[in-house]
Point group: C2
């Protein structure tokens, strides 16, 4: 066991940056998993974990998650991304599969265009994984899937469904039909109820940003969307948020494919 590290140790500073900065994570190709359950799930799913940080004197150690490094008294609590961080904080490598490789073989994909909220992304990863999606695609400018809040909110689903960054055009070029969702009527959009559309082919369910949705100017002629879906609401309109709407849609895809 090495000496417990203090706050100003360079390794500890690097760990903090991985938790706090998207650019640090993607420059290094590494991110941080917090807690024993998520760490163990990542290891079991074959993710490559490099080092696990624990408080001084902690007996926590996850088999297969890399060497254990103690942090000096009080350091662990200051580094973790929550009020009461759980040990270990585990540094793991991001997977390297290219979006082209992932999309080529995918038959059922969820695409999130400019999604902002970490909690929404975590929930959508859970739904997509449970419904059997082959991949989740984030467009450039979306929230970072390796943000600690996303990793936590995904309840380990992140380790079980490939997540890649790609543009809508790249998804369409891979041969998937882009099924966009809309809750408003817009000129030139032929909208079909999600339960009436045929979602059994190679399909990408495209969800827009929380506030703006998909661009208003896209219709049947303009923009990459090949099929416009809507979830018929019996109540008021706009009563579902993006994570709930995605949950409804991915399980309709799953139902049609049963």
């Amino acid at each position: 066991m090495m000496t417990p590290l203090s706050m100003n140790n360079s390794t500890v500073q690097a760990l903090r940056k991985l938790l706090a900065q998207r650019s640090a994570r993607h420059d290094d190709g590494r991110f941080v998993i917090e807690g024993p359950v998520s760490t163990a799930e990542a290891v079991a799913a074959g993710w490559n974990c490099l080092m696990q940080f624990v408080p001084e004197g902690s007996g926590v150690r996850i088999e297969g998650a890399g060497p254990v490094q103690e942090l000096a008294d009080g350091v662990f609590e200051r580094v973790g991304s929550t009020k009461n961080p759980q040990a270990p904080l585990t540094v793991c490598e991001m997977p390297t599969a290219s979006s082209a490789d992932v999309l080529r073989d995918a038959s059922f994909v969820v695409v999130l265009d400019q999604l902002n909220d970490p909690g929404n992304l975590g929930t959508i990863l859970r739904s997509a994984e449970a419904a059997g999606a082959d991949a989740v695609v984030l467009t450039p400018g979306s929230v970072d899937v390796y943000n600690p809040k996303v990793v936590r909110a995904s309840a380990s689903a992140i380790f079980h469904v490939p997540v890649v960054t790609a543009t809508l055009e790249q998804v369409a070029d891979a041969g998937l039909t882009l099924a966009g969702t809309t809750s408003h009527a817009f000129p030139g959009r032929s909208v079909v109820a999600h339960t009436a559309a045929d979602l059994t082919g190679r399909v990408a369910i495209v969800m827009g940003n929380e506030a703006a949705g998909l661009p208003d100017e896209w219709n049947d002629e303009v923009g990459p969307i090949g099929l416009w879906l809507t979830i018929p609401h019996r109540g008021r309109t706009e009563s579902l948020n993006v994570a709930m709407a995605t949950t409804v849609l991915v399980f309709e895809v799953a139902r049609q494919r049963t």
Copy 2:
């Protein structure tokens, strides 16, 4: 306009109790709605609002939400249930419809047995309302639907779907088939995929507590459940939380009834 009220004014103390204490709410038959959007939605939906509290000097006033009462400098911020409370804090009456009356005419109900989490209840109210449920039933011991966190998380759905307290036996006595959900195999339960079950009759979708689910000892012979449903997962089991699972189920009911 009356004099702005100070913290120790008895009306302000009563307002605080309505926000903080379930017993105070139900003894008085009143609760508090926070913010202009929710207050306006409640008024539009015909709820009876009695008084609206605003910070001293605030120009906020929602038409139809009762007389305006100013709170002295700093009092409004201390009374509201969030860090940055939005004006007005509106005291409204709970509806008085009996569970028997609501259930007699209901054809599609969501029953939450011992649900604990305010955020989950808020989300479920949104889903149930959007999917066209006639009512949401809470069993005794569940979280209070008039908890400020629930009111907020429901995004005004609470004003558009009746919510009553009743036991599972009372729901069954009203002639609804109780469709319970299970994610584990238990002895003596004949489980059907939610998409394969006939949910077009008078049905109550019954969801259990976040941690425990429905009682393990209930099976086809024991307990009030007439039909056991499961959501087939393509991924790991247990990847959906109760709010997400309810969302999937209520939209399957809606689909079958289209």
